[in-house]
Each structure stands twice: as structure tokens, then as C-alpha cells.
């Protein structure tokens, strides 16, 4: 075939070439498409996606199913929650009442909203900051890398729960402060993982090729490094969301987190635990159920993503 190419261009050859040029483009199968196909084949992960989707829908549209709100106290029930406050479909209090005579269904919806928001936003901040920071440190290397990573080491050596609690006590207990406090520490692990990945990708030949072409450093980072480490980042991010939710719940369980009348899964579970002895188990069961199911879902999805994105790693 090479001999054919060497021949001078004849009219027929030109026509042939025009023909080849005019052909419809063939669509390629990207590594992402392959990964999606593998993920779709994973039953546990797909079920988890479905369940998680339902939890999200519940947290967004849940309020419109109920005529009650999160603050109104039913004075008839107060003091007799064990008998009169049971979950029931007839009176519209699907999840019953909490210890203060408020509708538990709406409080769980509210709690889901805040817990999921903390989880997703916290993980998102961690992913963005951690990826950019880690990829930059890893790719530039040398002294820059040393300084940037020592900084991470220093931040990591501070017990972050202590800092978070201090922050909430000093700056006041608000949801913004929880976001700030969690976001401040969550990106550290991420940046370490990303830096490690970057170091291994940076020595691959296609990055060398980009350097030889003269592609600017930041374009190499964003076009060649980041897309190739996104697999690891995505997996880690899905595992980070439940971790964020757990942290927030722990803080709320201690009573430092979300403040009344707002609530979160952690705060609801905390209240449920306090009233366990009075026989009002549903106050614990509903928030705990949502909490456990969500965290399981995230773990299964993370597992599925890892298998899908890195088939060699099984």
C-alpha cells in the first residue's frame, strides 16, 4: 500500500482522496463510554443509584406531600407522644411526631436536605480544590511540590475535629460555618491522592509529547493530566460524600451542628436516641433508616465506579 501512496497524484487518485474526505465521520467509543457500560451492568450499583435518586427526590419534593410544616407544635399530642404520636397514614403524619409534638415526616425531609447538601457540597469543594492543588504540585514538582505538600502535612497534623468544634464555638453555630469547617479540611486527602496519580501520569509518553509540542503547562494539567486521573477522583468523591454526611451528623449529634428549627439526620438521630426509653422508637428509626440507606448507596456506587473505571484493578 505504501507503493501506491508514492505514485504521483493522478486525477483518479485525487478523486479517490476526495471520496475518502467526504465519508461520514465514524463515532468512536471513548473510555468513558466503556466505563458507563460496565457500570450499567453492575446490579448493586445501579440499584443504589435508583434508591439514592429516590432519597434525593424525597428531600427535594417531600414537603409537598404533607400539609404540615416543620415548626408547628400539635399541643394535643405533646406529653402523650407515645400513644397519640404514632406514625399513621390516616391523619397525614406519615412518620408520626417527634418529642416536641412536631410532624416528624417534614423534619426528616428537612434533615435529608441539609445532610445531603453538606455531603455533596463538601465533597465537591474537596474534589475541586484537592484536584487542582494536587495536580499542580505533582506536575510542577521540585521545590514547589515540596512546599505545597508540606503545607498539606501541616494542616493534616492538626486534629480537625478539634478545629471544627472550636470554629463552631467561636464563630457561632451556623450551617455556613459547618460548610467552611468541613470544606477546609476535606480537600487535604484528595490533594494527596491526586498528586500521587499525577506523578505516575506525568512520566507517560503522551505528556512528554505535549511538552515537546510546546503546550503550555496549565493546558497540559487540564487537558492531559486531569482527565486521566478523573477516574480515581470520581471514585474517591463518591466515598467522600458519606464521610461528609457522617462528620456533619457527628457534629450535630454533639449538639454543635445544625440549630433549631433546622435539622439534619445527625440531629434527628440524636433526638431519637434521647427518647428511645419512652418507647417512641420511630423517632430514631426513620432518620436512621434514611441515613444508613444513603450511606450504603454511596458506598455501593463508589465500588461500582471503581470496577467500571479501572477494570484491571479487580
Amino acid at each position: 500500500m505504501t507503493d501506491k501512496l508514492a505514485q504521483p497524484f493522478t486525477q483518479a487518485k485525487t478523486a479517490e482522496m476526495a471520496d475518502r474526505m467526504a465519508q461520514e465521520d465514524v463515532q468512536g467509543r471513548s473510555p468513558w463510554t466503556d466505563a458507563r457500560r460496565r457500570f450499567m451492568a453492575n446490579k448493586a450499583a445501579m440499584t443504589s443509584v435508583l434508591v439514592l435518586l429516590l432519597v434525593f427526590i424525597f428531600s427535594i419534593f417531600g414537603h409537598s406531600l404533607s400539609v404540615f410544616d416543620i415548626e408547628t407544635i400539635d399541643w394535643d399530642v405533646l406529653g402523650n407522644v407515645k400513644e397519640a404520636g404514632r406514625p399513621s397514614l390516616e391523619n397525614g403524619h406519615f412518620f408520626g411526631f417527634d418529642e416536641n409534638g412536631r410532624d416528624l415526616y417534614n423534619r426528616v425531609v428537612q434533615g435529608s436536605r441539609i445532610s445531603l447538601a453538606v455531603g455533596v457540597v463538601g465533597a465537591l469543594v474537596a474534589v475541586i480544590v484537592g484536584t487542582v492543588y494536587g495536580a499542580t504540585a505533582g506536575f510542577i514538582g521540585g521545590r514547589t511540590d515540596s512546599i505545597m505538600m508540606r503545607l498539606v502535612d501541616i494542616f493534616m497534623s492538626i486534629p480537625y475535629m478539634f478545629v471544627l468544634i472550636l470554629l463552631l464555638v467561636v464563630a457561632g453555630r451556623s450551617i455556613t460555618m459547618i460548610f467552611v469547617g468541613i470544606g477546609l479540611t476535606a480537600w487535604l486527602d484528595m490533594s494527596r491522592i491526586v498528586r500521587g496519580q499525577t506523578l505516575s501520569i506525568k512520566n507517560r509518553e503522551f505528556v512528554e509529547a505535549a511538552v515537546a509540542i510546546g503546550v503550555p503547562t496549565w493546558q497540559i494539567i487540564f487537558r492531559h493530566i486531569v482527565p486521566n486521573l478523573l477516574g480515581v477522583v470520581v471514585v474517591y468523591a463518591t466515598l467522600l460524600v458519606p464521610q461528609m454526611i457522617l462528620t456533619e451528623s457527628f457534629i450535630s449529634f454533639l449538639g454543635l451542628g445544625v440549630q433549631e428549627p433546622l435539622t439534619s439526620w445527625g440531629a434527628l438521630i440524636s433526638e431519637g436516641v434521647k427518647s428511645m426509653n419512652y418507647g417512641t422508637l420511630w423517632q430514631l428509626a426513620f432518620p436512621l433508616g434514611f441515613f444508613v440507606v444513603t450511606i450504603f448507596c454511596f458506598f455501593f456506587i463508589g465500588d461500582g465506579l471503581r470496577d467500571a473505571l479501572d477494570p484491571k484493578d479487580r
Binding site: G28, E205, G214
Partner: protein, 331 residues
């Protein structure tokens, strides 16, 4: 940039040295680092339209030399004159302007293509980097043309590297190098990862393209028969030093340096009788460590003809006439 005569060399490398400092195992922070002289004083010239083959054993500094010319590893000393500019001393911005005139092809065809980009994006990258004002349509048209030229169907531009064979991937790598119409391409063992029939195709393609576009090639390989086929002149490296630079035919007919002799005698002949009666010049001992190279001539520890002078004085690369330069005291 001054006007160039056809007889002026495109690239003139003088006394190029690339040294790496190596930290010894268990060394204290204050102990001095060892110096690995990967390339130690290399001189050569590259004419427009010519192919210079570079051969040598693994670890003799072939790839490091190529990367030093492209300024991908820092050089210790020397000059690399390219069209009147010293590539080693100009600013990063000026260097980037020159990068579109020199491109590189890599050894591992698949690994040199980003798995997350379509081949259209890969081939377009040099264009978009060096000609940011081109419209998307023009870029696409140019990418399709160059892909067609290297023998990849242009309608494949949306496919990903893993959907192609090794030979096809190397063609895509060649297309990426060609798309900016460079003056020189450095081929770093472009065929050693391919099987023999594909090797021939890729090499013939390179030779055709060279003729069409008047390219200069620096062709690094360890396969002497491949180098003979493609090169106008051949440079033989040993432990970061030039042993010999000769016209290709001359080198194979009458090697000037004992090391070249040994290399050529080791090339198998595709004829069982001739192969059996052929005398292979085996070299004693192993390649010395580049951390601690022999004094004088670096080849003397393995040279069958070594004399006292070889240990004391480093032989200079001297012209023997008929286009042959040899670094040896005895010849």
C-alpha cells in the same frame, strides 16, 4: 532569523553535555551528588533534507541527546544552533516559537497518545497550540488531510487511540508531528515497538514524507539494518560520546571505529550459510557505568586494540576524508 543557504546546516550541535546529579543510596544531605554524564560532549550537524541515524547500546544517551536538543531535559553545557538561534540560551517563549519547526515521534505508539482524547483532538493539538487563530473548520480540514496522507481514513477522527493497532497509532503519531509542517522530526526509536512488516511500512512512509516535504530526520534506533535503510549519515554513540559519524554506505562498508566494527559484525545476515561462516567480533566485559566512565577513550575497556595512550588521552573526533569522522587514536 537569517536567510539560510541550502548548504548551511539546519542544526549544529557543539560540545553538548547533559549531566544528571544522582543522590547515592543512604547519602547524607551534605554529601556531594554523583554526576551521571549521559551525554558528554557531542558534536554534529544536520543538513536540510538529510537523515541522521543515531545508533548505540541501551543507555548510551541516544534519547537523552534528543531530549536535550528539544530542551526537554536541561543541558549542562554546549550549544544547539537552530537557524541561527542557540536553543539552549533563548527564552522559553522564543523556544516555544521554534517548537513548531521541530517535532518528535515516540517509541511506544499507544502510550504517546492521550487515551482520553480522540485522534482528531490529538492531531489538532500542535496546530491549536501554534496557530491559535485558525478557525475550527480549517483545523479539522488540515487534520483530515494529514491523517489521509499517513494512511488513516479521515473519517476516523472521532475514534480513540485504543481502537487502533500499534502501527496505526504510530501513523497517528507521525500525523501529529507533520500537521504543523516542521523542518525537522526527531524519531526516538519509532519502530522498535512494532513488528517487522509494520516497521517497513512506517519507515517507508517516513521516507516518502521526507522526500515530499524536504524534512530533516534524526532517527534514533538500535537496529542497525533499519538505520542503514533510512539514513544518509549515521552517528555511533557509546557512553554519551560520539565514536564515529559517517556516510551510511561508508559506515557499513568500512567502519572506522573498533566499536562500529563490533556493532556491524553483530548484525545477522539473512542467509544461513553466510551467517554461519561470519565472524562476530565479541566484546569483553559489560558496558561500564556512566557514573564512573573509563579515563581517556571511554571504549578502551572493551576495545581489542587498546594501547597505553587510550587510557591517558581522550581521542578527538577527526575527519578521515570521504565523509567519515572517527574518534580513535589508532585509526
Amino acid at each position: 532569523m537569517k536567510d539560510m543557504n541550502a548548504s548551511d546546516p539546519l542544526l549544529k550541535v557543539r560540545d553538548l553535555k547533559v549531566w544528571f546529579s544522582i543522590k547515592r543510596d543512604g547519602a547524607m544531605p551534605w554529601t556531594p551528588h554523583d554526576t551521571l554524564k549521559a551525554v558528554d560532549g557531542v558534536d554534529f550537524e544536520l543538513m536540510p533534507g538529510e537523515t541522521l541515524g543515531i545508533v548505540g547500546e541501551s543507555g548510551c544517551g541516544k534519547s537523552t541527546l534528543a531530549r536535550a536538543i528539544m530542551r526537554m531535559v536541561p543541558a549542562e553545557a554546549g550549544t544547539v544552533m537552530w537557524l541561527g538561534d542557540d536553543l539552549l540560551s533563548i527564552s522559553k517563549r522564543q523556544m516555544n516559537a521554534h517548537r513548531k519547526e521541530m517535532q518528535m515521534i515516540f517509541q511506544d505508539p499507544l502510550a504517546s497518545l492521550n487515551p482520553r482524547m480522540t485522534i482528531g483532538q490529538i492531531v489538532a493539538e500542535p496546530l491549536k497550540t501554534h496557530f491559535p487563530n485558525l478557525k475550527d473548520k480549517e483545523v479539522k480540514q488540515r487534520v483530515r488531510e494529514v491523517l489521509d496522507r499517513v494512511g488513516i481514513l479521515p473519517n476516523m477522527i472521532n475514534r480513540y487511540p485504543h481502537e487502533f493497532s500499534g502501527g496505526q497509532c504510530q501513523r497517528i503519531g507521525i500525523a501529529r508531528a507533520l500537521v504543523v509542517k516542521p523542518k525537522m522530526i526527531i524519531c526516538d526509536e519509532p519502530v522498535s515497538a512494532l513488528d517487522v512488516s509494520i516497521q517497513a511500512q512506517v519507515i517507508n512512509l517516513l521516507m516518502e514524507l521526507q522526500e515530499e516535504m524536504g524534512l530533516s530526520l534524526i532517527f534514533i534506533a538500535h537496529d542497525l539494518s533499519v538505520v542503514k535503510h533510512i539514513s544518509t549519515r549515521v552517528m555511533v554513540l557509546y557512553l554519551g560520546n560520539v565514536m564515529e559519524i559517517s556516510e551510511s554506505d561508508q559506515l557499513y562498508r568500512a567502519p572506522g571505529h573498533p566499536y562500529t566494527e563490533a556493532l556491524i559484525s553483530a548484525v545477522p545476515i539473512p542467509d544461513p550459510k553466510a551467517e554461519a561462516s561470519k565472524e562476530v567480533m565479541l566484546l569483553d566485559a559489560d558496558l561500564p557505568s556512566p557514573l564512573n566512565p573509563p579515563s581517556g577513550c571511554v571504549f578502551r575497556t572493551r576495545c581489542p586494540h587498546a594501547k597505553d595512550i587510550c587510557a591517558q588521552e581522550k581521542p578527538m573526533l577527526t575527519d578521515r576524508g570521504n565523509g567519515q569522522q572517527v574518534a580513535c587514536h589508532l585509526r
